[in-house]
């Protein structure tokens, strides 16, 4: 290759690669961190640009396959600039004692809310229900009632809780209680109790991006409610694929050491 060609290619690569690398940088101070946008594809086109679409009934249209939009390695990446997660002493104690091998996700159990896995997902809207379909981990779904019903008085605790939703303009607001205390918020092991209450606000900012803002309230492990923000990206032309984690899980028995490293 000639020197001139190398220089030209180098300049082109620098122009292409540097913004991409910056976008990959974990951004604990960014309000809209890259979230879980970290499963690569060799043939992916950049997300399309353009206005967010609407359904015929005027509600926002969340169709498409998304990636990211929640914490994978570290919940703190979703905090506003300069703010720390308000763990109380008990929360800090529980987190410090956790071992990576015990992370439910490593053991093929669900992420719960608001954690995301580094796999694509899809929102399916109907007049009465919204479903969030996850490729992994695990290959499962969330069910959100948008028919006006209320939470039950004392729901049995579950991995995804009991969710009711409604639309506020361009935003889908999802209120969830009735969680179990088993899942972790991230690889670092941020804890929660069965008193967890989440309010998620899903807004399709434009055709290619969805902002997920989640307010977490859990008086058992946190001193006050706090809000994290992550942005998911559209994966044009993508479809969900099967992912049955339990099929051949061999990692958990080889995992060593405390939680804390992504």
């Amino acid at each position: 290759m000639s020197v001139r060609r190398r220089l030209l290619i180098g300049a082109a690569l620098a122009a292409l690669a540097v913004p991409a690398l910056l976008a990959q940088t974990p951004s604990p101070t960014s309000a809209a961190g890259s979230g879980g946008l970290n499963t690569g594809r060799g043939r992916g086109a950049p997300p399309p640009t353009g206005p967010a679409p609407k359904l015929a009934n005027g509600h926002p249209d969340f169709s498409g396959v998304w990636q990211g939009g929640g914490p994978v390695g570290d919940l703190a990446q979703g905090m506003p600039k300069g703010e720390a997660i308000p763990l109380n002493d008990e929360g800090k104690r529980v987190m410090a004692a956790r071992q990576s091998k015990d992370d439910p996700e490593a053991n093929c159990l669900p992420t719960g809310v608001p954690r995301t896995a580094p796999y694509p997902w899809r929102i399916l809207q109907t007049p009465t229900h919204v479903f969030i379909l996850f490729e992994g981990n695990i290959h499962s779904y969330r069910q959100i009632f948008v028919d006006g019903r209320k939470h039950p008085e004392d729901p049995d605790p579950t991995w995804y809780g009991h969710s009711v939703g409604h639309y506020e303009g361009d935003t889908l607001v999802v209120d969830t209680i009735g969680f179990n205390d088993k899942f972790w918020f991230d690889f670092r092991g941020h804890p929660h109790s069965d008193k967890l209450h989440t309010v998620e606000r899903y807004t399709r900012k434009d055709l290619g991006s969805i902002v997920v803002q989640t307010t977490i309230t859990d008086p058992v492990y946190y001193t006050k409610p706090f809000t994290i923000t992550f942005t998911g990206r559209l994966r044009p032309g993508e479809e969900l694929m099967e992912y049955i984690c339990q099929e051949n899980e061999q990692d958990a028995s080889h995992i060593k050491g405390p939680a804390g490293t992504p």
Binding site: M1, R5, R6, I9, G10, L13, A14, L16, A17, V18, A20, L21, Q24, T25, L37, N38, T39, G40, R41, G42, R43, G44, P46, Q67, V72, G73, S100, K101, D103, E105, A106, C108, A117, P118, Y119, E135, G136, N137, F187, E238, M241, E242, Y243, I244, C245, E247, N248, E249, Q250, D251, A252, H254, I255, K256, G257, A259, T261, P262
Partner: protein
């Protein structure tokens, strides 16, 4: 990723052929593949890179990770190594198929060893029998960009 790491990488990119360089840029633009259901650093030691040359004895095109096993000979005998790839879905999206590796193939693997000392490693790149080097799309890339390698179906 710090800018200190970006500079040598760009320098390396410039040494590569145009096709290979663009393939790597494609991976960067689309996101460095971290594709594990577990913390990479909790299981593998990025500071313990390993290169293994052997014959593929078994392939598991399964979740949560595709795996393959190779028989590696040294002066003391033959040992079977268990090598972790990304999930089949991530591999497929990066151009692999379940036939990219085949039993009997003589291959070379670069990866990171398991922390617990077992004969397991996380594969980062695989050099196939035909000399083509393919990116394993694995969780190892939580630690940084892939070495120069084309997608499995590249060129």
């Amino acid at each position: 990723m710090s800018s200190a790491r970006v500079k040598p990488m760009l320098k390396n990119l410039m040494k590569m052929s145009l096709g290979a360089a663009l393939a790597v840029v494609g991976l960067l633009v689309s996101g460095a593949p971290i594709s594990a259901h577990h913390s990479f650093a909790a299981e593998y030691d990025a500071a313990k890179p390993i290169t293994l040359k052997g014959v593929v004895s078994k392939i598991e095109w399964t979740n949560p990770h595709a795996r393959f096993y190779i028989d590696v000979k040294d002066e003391t005998g033959t040992f079977t190594w268990n090598l972790e790839l990304a999930s089949p879905n991530v591999l497929a999206r990066n151009g692999w198929t379940r036939k990219t590796l085949n039993i009997g193939d003589e291959i070379t693997v670069q990866g990171a060893m398991a922390k617990d000392g077992s004969k397991m490693a996380n594969a980062r790149t695989v050099t196939l029998a035909n000399g083509k080097r393919v990116f394993a799309g694995s969780s190892a890339d939580a630690e940084g960009p892939a070495p120069a390698a084309a997608p499995a179906t590249g060129r």
